[in-house]
Structure formats: C-alpha cells, structure tokens
C-alpha cells in the first residue's frame, strides 16, 4: 500500500518537475490532449480537482443547444466579468451561426481581451491555477482560457524596511503583475524587458527577470538565467529562497544580492545595467549583481542634496564600524590597553565597574545578548505589547541592572550606541550580518586585545576581497580600485558629475547622460 502511494507521489513529482523545467509545449506530460467529448473532459477535470472545494464547475448550454462547461477557481477570477462577457453572450440564441470553430467564437462573441486557446490538460490546469476561467465546449478538442483573474491584494503601501524622508512612497506588494507595472511606469522605454519563468515543483511561482536591453550586459543576463534554470525546489515563498540558490559564495555572512521593496531603487539599478528578479508572493525583489557599497546606500542619498547625501554616507560608514567594533574595542581597552583611556575617564569607568562582579567580556556578552533578545522580542510581539517590552527593557535593563551593580553604566552606553549604530545600516540583511560578526570580534578582543580585533578585521577584509557577486568583485570600486567610480561610493557626487554608469555592470553602455551639464550662467547663455 505504502509503496503504491510512493510511486504515485514520485510520478506526480516528476510530472511537476517537467512542467517547471521543460519547455511547456514539448514535455511528454503535456501530451494528454483535451478530448472532443465534453463529458470525458469533465470527468478528468473532476478527478484532478478532487477534494478542492474552491474549484467551481458550471455547466451551461451554448445557444441553448450545445453543452459547455465553465471552470474557475473561486476567489481568483472576476465573477462579474465572467457573467457579462462569457456566460451571457454564449447563452444567447443568436450566436448559433458562429458555433463552427473556437476562433470564430472568440473573434465574434467573446468580448474579453486576453484569450488563450488550450489543447492540453497540463496547460489547462496551469491556466486554472493562475485564476483564469476556462470554457470547454462539446465537439471541440480545445479549451479557452480567459485572462479574467482577480484576487485581493494588499494595497500599495509605503515600504516599511526602507523608509525615506523625501522621495517616492510606493513600495512593492505581493503581486507580480502589480510590481511589474510599477517598474514599467518608471521605465517606459520599450527596451525595458521582463521575461517570465516558473520555479517550484508545487508552487510554480511566477518570477520575472527584468532588465533594460542595451544597458544590461547579455552575459550577465545569461548567467542569471542559467543560475535560475538550475533551481529545482518544492516552492519559492520568498526571495531568500532564490537568493541562497543563486549566490556565488554560499558560506559567507554577507548577502551577495540586493533585496529591495522600493520600485525606485529597482528602477535605478536597472538603469545602471543590473538585473532585477521579481518573485510573485513577496514584496522583495532581488537585484544582481550587488556590492558591499550598494548595501550601504539608501534612496535618500539621491533624494537629498548631494552634500547632505555625502555627509550621511560618511556618517553611515562611521557607524558601520561602530556597530561592528565598538563593544570589541571596549573589551580590548578595558582588558589590555588601559593606558589608552584618558586618566579621568578611566577613573570614572573604574569607579562604576567597582561593584560589578563579572569580567568585562562576560558583562559585554550579557548585555549584548539581552539587547539582541529585546530587539527580537520587540519584532515578534504584537504591537500593543511592544511598547511594554521597550519599557521593561529600558527600565529594568538600563536602570535597575546598573543600580543593582550587575552591569556598569558605561557598558549600557556602549551597548546602546552599538544598537543605534546597527540601525543606521540601510539594508536589514546587511545589518544582521554586522550584528552577527560583532560577537567573534568581541571574543578575539578578549583573547588578543587590539591585535585580535585587527586580525579579525583582516580576516573580514580578506573574505570581502574574495567575494564576488555574479562576477563583480564585492568591494569594487575600492578593491580593485577604480578611481573615477569612487564619486558614487565615498561621496555622492551631484548628478551632473555622474556621467558614467558604474564599472562592471555599466561597461556595456558607458555613458548615462550628456557631459558638461553643470548648471551655471556661462553655459546657460549659450555663448
């Protein structure tokens, strides 16, 4: 009995695999044809959709004579449109004369813009699962699928994880088509292309590979498609599923693709020659290739005046290092290099540490763990309780622990500043990596002091130098150095200076604008 079950499951899996990887029209499972006999078709369909309450079968007669069947999935199709544009014209007696072939019917009777003729069950179930209503008719070995999908979707909201102060407020939502439209509305050129593809044995999730023809290097596009092609997975529910399958170096704490829920960020990256992958069911799109510096940039950099943008960028780099190293440096200074701390400060720290029973390392770990736990708890708890947690955190951990002599006040300050610093990193995935890497550095600092921190940083630097994202060195344009590209990394140069697209991704089509557009009275006069 069990063996039989397994066999069925296996064949089922194989069938699904073929639908995802093979070409739709040539796979053998595709060959199951639609019969001319409508009763047989109905029987087959009912068997396929056994125990699926949401699949609706509606029998009706075309022109009061011929038997026909409408199949759709409840909640995924637009019922009003079906009634108005499919059922009511087909049931009229006057269409009798068109009942000779499907194409004639489609051409003359059915007032639906997106129509597809289907000749196999495979394609039929696929269309059905995308919410398309299907009509089968007696005497025809073709079915018709109508593009009348409609389902509830979250309205377009402000992206939560990537807020900007001034700038577009739209964020992607979970529906691929809506997301694609948002990109199309930003890049209206016909050279903006979107190729679709299905991934997932069971989910057959639709993804779209977007690029601008003439900007994206064809080899990059090919590489992206190849890497996606290899994926054979049960389901894709979020972009990280794909991210981890297409990364260059899977054992790295650093994300090698950029994930964003901002259409403006995605569009800007498309214009720099990168490739965007939209995945149905998640608001986060994948942008490849990515560099470390791309993870450190926010849309706000470009929506502020360039001087402010530059200053904020520098601030972020400083706080990146604080988030990474501050507790480690504190441990190193307190354990090995007390002489570096100014005397007055050293005295006050020593005084507040007098009652603390733990060594600095234990104290740091205690506080860091507590802080991370508070942050995690704050994320998971319902909003109403969230504020309670922060009160408990601030009062109990901050005040009471210090008064009780469990931790010292400077330690609280160190952990708090580190916490704030990690929030300045604009990408959540990057900030998680930095939070993780803090702990090995703390241990190294307690073993070897500043030397340990340096060795840790060297390891980190070396690792970053080995990383690549779709062939682009992760630290470019700093290492390998490309001097002219630094003006969009170290500083944010004004737009009239950014004539060239970024190195590597932009080499295919170097210039993004006409040179010499710096505004000024002399040029404006036209002399």
């Amino acid at each position: 009995m069990r063996r039989k079950l397994k066999k069925i499951l296996r064949s089922n899996n194989q069938k699904n695999k073929q639908t995802t990887t093979g070409d739709q029209t040539t796979s053998p499972a595709d060959k199951t044809p639609i019969s001319k006999n409508i009763d047989e078709n109905e029987k087959n369909l009912r068997f396929l959709y056994e125990n699926s309450f949401d699949v609706v079968f509606r029998e009706f007669s075309i022109a009061r004579k011929e038997k026909a069947l409408l199949v759709y999935i409840d909640g995924m199709s637009n019922l009003e449109e079906i009634d108005e544009h499919i059922l009511s014209p087909l049931m009229k007696e006057s269409i009798d004369k068109y009942y000779e072939s499907l194409s004639v019917l489609v051409k003359n009777v059915l007032s639906v813009s997106e129509v597809e003729e289907i000749n196999s069950f495979n394609r039929l179930t696929q269309a059905l699962s995308y919410g398309k209503p299907i009509v089968l008719m007696e005497g025809f070995d073709h079915a018709v699928a109508f593009g009348l999908q409609k389902w509830d979707q979250r309205s377009i909201e402000e992206p939560i994880s990537e807020a900007v102060v001034q700038g577009p407020r739209e964020g992607f939502n979970e529906v691929l088509k809506t997301n694609a439209t948002m990109l199309r509305r930003r890049i209206r050129s016909p050279q903006f292309k979107m190729k679709t593809k299905q991934i997932g044995r069971y989910t057959t999730t639709e993804i779209a590979i977007c690029y601008v023809e003439g900007l994206a290097e064809p080899t990059l596009l090919e590489e992206v498609e190849n890497r996606l092609e290899r994926i054979d997975i049960d389901g894709v529910l979020e972009s990280t599923y794909l991210e981890e399958m297409i990364e260059d170096d899977p054992v790295s704490p650093f994300p090698q693709v950029l994930r964003s829920e901002r259409p403006d960020t995605a569009a800007a990256n498309l214009l720099e020659g990168r490739v965007v992958i939209i995945i149905d069911g998640t608001p986060l799109v994948i942008i490849v290739p990515s560099t470390l510096f791309a993870l450190m940039q926010s849309g706000d950099d470009y929506y502020n005046r360039y001087m402010a943008g530059t200053a904020i960028r520098w601030l972020r780099f400083v706080f990146l290092f604080i988030a990474l190293m501050f507790p480690a440096v504190y441990v190193a200074l307190m354990t090995y290099h007390q002489e570096m701390i100014p005397t007055a400060l050293l005295f006050s720290i020593a005084a507040s540490r007098e009652e603390v029973p733990f060594p600095v390392l234990v104290e740091v770990l205690l506080m860091e763990f507590t802080f991370e736990a508070l942050r995690e708890a704050g994320l998971r708890l319902p909003k109403q309780i969230g504020s309670a947690v922060s009160i408990v955190g601030a009062l109990v951990i901050g005040e009471a622990a210090v008064t009780a002599g469990i931790v010292s006040a400077p330690m609280v300050i160190v952990v708090a500043i580190t916490g704030i610093a990690s929030f300045t990193i604009p990408r959540y995935t990057a900030s998680v990596s930095i939070r993780l890497l803090r702990f090995p550095l703390i241990f190294l600092a307690s073993f070897l002091g500043l030397l340990g921190i340096m060795l840790g940083l060297i390891m980190l630097g070396t690792h970053l130098c080995t990383l690549r994202s779709f062939g682009v060195p992760y630290l470019s344009p700093v290492a390998p150095l490309n001097g002219s590209q630094l003006k969009d990394v170290i500083v944010r140069a004004p737009w009239y200076k950014l004539n060239k697209r970024p190195h590597f991704t932009g080499d295919y089509n170097k210039y993004r604008q006409a040179p010499g557009q710096k505004p000024g009275p002399k040029k404006g006069m036209g002399d």
């Binding site: 570096m340 100014p342 070897l448 500043l450 030397l451 060297i458 690792h463 130098c465 700093v478 150095l481």
Partner: protein, 361 residues
C-alpha cells in the same frame, strides 16, 4: 596555476608594504648607528639596490614574460642545476618568511601582549595569512589595496601630531663625517631594498604587461619617501638617542597627545602596523608557496598553503629571540639577502645574455 590578474597599482602597493613593513620599525635604529644625524639620507642611497634588483628582474622578465624566477631559471642554466638552485631559494624564502613572523611576534609580545606565548601570536597571524594566500595573488592584491592606503594615511596623521615634539636642530650638521658613514649605514636597508627581486613572482600576473617597470619605480620611490619621513621623524624627535631605541617610531608615538585626550597611541601604531605586516608576510608566503608548487611542477598551489603555514609557524618559533635577531639583521642580512635577491639574478641575467636566449619563449 595562478589564474588571477593584478593591476600595476596593486603590484606596487604589495611591493611597497613588502619592503616597508618591517623596515619601518627596526631599521631607523640600525641606520642611525653609522649615519648618526644623516640617517634620513640613507634610504635614498640604499634604494639603489632596489632599482638594481628591479632592473635585473625586468630584463629577465623580458626574456620570459609569462614565467616566474623559479620557472625560467630552468631555461637559463638547465634543468638539474635549476632544480637545485630553486630548492635553495625555497629554503631561503622559508627562512626569511619565518624571520618576518619572528620579528612580528617579538614586537607584539615585547610591547603589548607580554604574557601571551609567542606561538599563539605567530599561529594566529599565520592562519590569517594562509586565508589570504589561499585566495591567490588577486586577493592578496586587493587586500593590500584596501588596507595599505588606510595605513599610510593614519601613519602620516600620527606624524603630523608629533610636530610639536620635533626639533629641526637635530639634523645639523649635515655630512659631518663625509659620505662614507652613509654608505656603510646603507648596507642594511639596501639588503631590504633588494627584496624587490620578488616582483618576479608578480610580473607574470600583471594586467598591463608593459607597466612593470613604471609601477616598480613608483613603488620604490614611495618606499623611499616613507622611509625618509620615518627617519626624519625619529631624528627630529630623538636626535642622537635614536640609536639606543629598538623601535624609534613606537617610542615616538608615546609622545603623541591630541587635546589631552588621545594619548599613548602605541597600540594604535601596533594595530595599523599589523595590517602592513600582514600584507608583507602574505606576499612572501605566497611567493614561497607558488615557488614550491612551480618547483615541484604541481598543477595547483593551494594544497601547499596550510602545510607551509604550519612549517612557518614552527620555523619562526625556532628562530632566535630579539637581541640575536637584531644582530642577525645587522650582520648577516646585508650579505645573504643581496646574494639571493641581487647577485644570483644578475648572474642568471648575464648567462642569459651570453647564451643569447631568444625572447620568444
């Protein structure tokens, strides 16, 4: 074997720290012994050895553009003699690299981590370097490009903070004892400059084929400039007493005081110095591993990286302690380094010229 490519700038930076990293700490005192207040001129005269080594290697490189020293020695003096010579070279690189580890360990354990056993200090560095060397020349080049500019800028900043302590009078009288003491004092740094020979192991991987000479010269000049700055700093701050200090620059760092808040920055000096020592050791470690792989005609050098890491750690524990090491650097290095870095390559070049080897290998 090595598929990576480096840019001329990366090569220059790697060579820069391969020379400068250890020189900057120990050598001012050694130079000051003979040259006294003229020690700032010494790097300039000593750099001649660097230019010579560069010239010889570039000439040899022209004969065999895609081969390293180990590989083309075979073409010049025949297979068996070349194998023996290469083996001696590998032993030599093994020894010099382990001396570098020892210098590093002596410096760190003598000044900062007094109680940490030196094997921990050496092994941790060996591990980090092995990590970089495994990545190949490309990764070493990129890390150098990432770290060394930062190191240099921080170093110059620290020197600016020392301006208060400097006394220009310490420089006079210039050429008090004529030119001879300067030439004598040059012997030790000249030995270091001849280390430029290892550029032979980078030239085949250079992206811009013709840029070797240009970037080599830039690299030497930058080393000279930084050495002069270092010497002038220790001369201006300490004057004649430079001789008595083991690490003049470190001692100078103790004088730094910025706004009465940043004081005792020796640890910072150590921290940034570790970065450039890391590059130096990685470069030599890479040369050692690559050279061995080419000597054994292996298809890949990566399996050799970890074993050599262990070997280097052990060898550097065997290496004598600081006083003996300083003595060694003063008495032996001026002879054995130029022998391997300058004399033997020159002989090879002469042989190649005499045998009129064609340049189309």
């Amino acid at each position: 074997m090595e598929t990576g490519k480096i840019s001329g700038l990366q090569m220059a930076i790697m060579m820069h720290s391969a020379i400068l990293a250890t020189v900057i700490l120990l050598v001012p005192a050694i130079m000051a012994k003979e040259a006294k207040q003229d020690l700032w001129i010494v790097p300039i005269t000593a750099s001649i050895a660097g230019f010579l080594a560069l010239f010889v290697i570039i000439q040899l490189h022209k004969y065999f553009p895609k081969k390293t020293f180990i590989q083309y020695s075979e073409k010049i003096i025949g297979r068996i003699p070349a194998k023996i010579l290469s083996f001696v070279y590998i032993l030599f690189f093994l020894q010099t690299t382990s001396v570098m580890f020892r210098q590093y360990a002596e410096f760190v354990s003598g000044n900062f981590l007094l109680k940490t056993p030196s094997i921990v200090i050496i092994a941790s560095m060996a591990f980090v370097c092995a990590f970089a060397v495994r990545g190949g020349i490309e990764v070493v080049g990129r890390t150098a490009q990432l770290f060394i500019p930062t190191v240099t800028i921080l170093f110059l900043f620290l020197i600016i903070f020392l301006f208060n302590e400097m006394d220009v009078e310490n420089m006079y009288p210039v050429f008090e004892n004529g030119i001879m003491p300067i030439i004598k004092a040059s012997s030790s740094p000249a030995a270091w400059f001849s280390e430029f020979m290892i550029i032979s192991f980078m030239l085949p991987f250079l992206k811009e084929r013709e840029g070797g000479m240009k970037w080599g010269i830039i690299s030497i000049v930058s080393v000279v400039i930084l050495m002069v700055i270092t010497n002038i700093t220790s001369l201006f701050v300490f004057g004649e007493t430079t001789v008595k200090l083991t690490y003049p620059i470190m001692s100078a760092a103790r004088y730094i005081s910025v706004g009465d808040f940043f004081e005792h920055l020796e640890s910072v000096i150590m921290a940034i110095w570790v970065l450039s020592v890391f590059i130096k050791i990685s470069v030599f470690y890479y040369v050692l591993v690559l050279g061995t792989a080419q000597w054994l005609e292996l298809s890949n050098y990566k399996p050799l990286v970890l074993p050599f890491g262990f070997l280097l750690t052990v060898m550097s524990v065997w290496t004598p302690n600081l006083p003996e090491l300083t003595d060694y650097l003063k008495r032996v290095s001026p002879f054995n380094l130029p022998l391997f870095y300058l004399v033997i390559p020159t002989i090879l070049l002469v042989v190649a010229k005499v045998r009129k080897l064609s340049t189309t290998h």
